[in-house]
Amino acid sequence: MLPPHGGKLVDRVLPTERQQGALEEAGKLPQLNVGDDLAKDIENIAFGAFSPLEGFLCENDYMSVLHEKRLSNDLPWTLPIVLDASKGELKGLKQGDTVAIIDPLKEPIALLDIEQIFPFNREELAQEVFGTTDRAHPGVAKTCAMKDSLVGGKVSLIRMSFDEFQKYRLRPIETRVLFKEKGWRTIVGFQTRNIPHMGHEYVQKTALTFVDGLFINPVIGKKKSGDFKDEVILAAYEALLRHYYLRDRTVMAVLRTEMRYAGPREAIFHAIVRKNFGCTHFVVGRDHAGVGKYYPPYAAQEIFDEFPDLGIIPLPFKSFFYCKRCESVVNEKICPHDSTQRVDFSGTDLRSRLIRGESPPAELVRPEVAEVLLRWKNPFVE
């Protein structure tokens, strides 16, 4: 199996015997409050999903990621994983201090050893990461709302959070052991933020034909309005896996992180995270992690050419559709028929049907999946 990114699976979880002491210590330390997204990323760092990161980026890594798409040690890394804080929150704090990280439930979740506090330019960050400073882009809007300074330093997780998806929360060490136990040497990772339709099934099964195992890894976390709710995505996948997939060839677990909508850069980031989970291959579809028309349709595939040292093999897929003549899901590489024969997997159409309480056609969505979707009065993020 491939080693993790950077060669070592990071483990920044405090040993059990230190956790109680750390909780008491946290009560006496200065505190930094974080939102749900940052709380999730602290866990991702601590569990090694973001290996080789051991904490939030300091300035030299931050600038290198922004401008070179690499950490300062030359390893590919495309998204700045940073902790922002206001001047007020940082008053009196300096390099060498330890602070307690407090989650939205007002509970201490981690300790942060401050290595650096530094200013940053929001416009520069937005332009480099999202390729735009247009505030209509959700990533830019979030960047513009960031606080004044960034705080770099290693984190130590005190306790793991709890949520309704506990059953599907596997750490990279767990997926790696699981894949090994299953005897898989090659594993394809499939990132999703959507319910599964026939096009996804076609891509997953095509990819699985050439490797030992399939790792379906839905992103669970903040999404934009109109996206499917997390619980709907998981329930839909459960139905699909139960009826149409071999149990011995498929594993599903969630990735708890927000969608950044950073397109090509996020595709590389998603691939690195799946490499840490033990994948050897990674599916990159059309407009991966895109939003609106901010990125060319296949930019997220082309960017992989810049990273010969990524250590995970991208599997680029063309856009897929149902062809009435072929009577199957196909793409433009394998279907000779003209566009009048095509039925596209239109998210807008699917949404309209579900809102009206109509079942989508069987050539687009499996009936068992459609049945699950129709159970929700509103399956979409508000």
Binding site: P4, G7, K8, R70, E174, P308, D309
Partner: protein, 70 residues
């Protein structure tokens, strides 16, 4: 702009690379050499071991069994 350092290659090799990259996506011999070295390093780095102990592996298996994955 990232910091760069100089390395030396035989002149004939330099010329050969220069001729080869003409009209390609490589802007310079340095860009070509950087890519080739990164490719080579990735191959070597992918030979490293997993990095967890037998004891850790057994604990993980117990949790995987409890969750129904094994």
């Amino acid at each position: 702009m990232e910091k760069r350092k100089t390395i030396e290659v035989p002149e004939a090799l330099y010329d050969r690379i220069g001729a080869r990259i003409r009209g390609t996506e490589f802007a310079s011999v340095s860009d070509y050499v950087t890519r080739v070295i990164r490719e080579r390093l990735a191959v070597e780095e992918n030979q490293k071991p997993q990095g967890y102990t037998k004891e850790e592996e057994e604990k993980v298996k117990a949790r995987l069994k409890a969750l129904g994955y094994l």
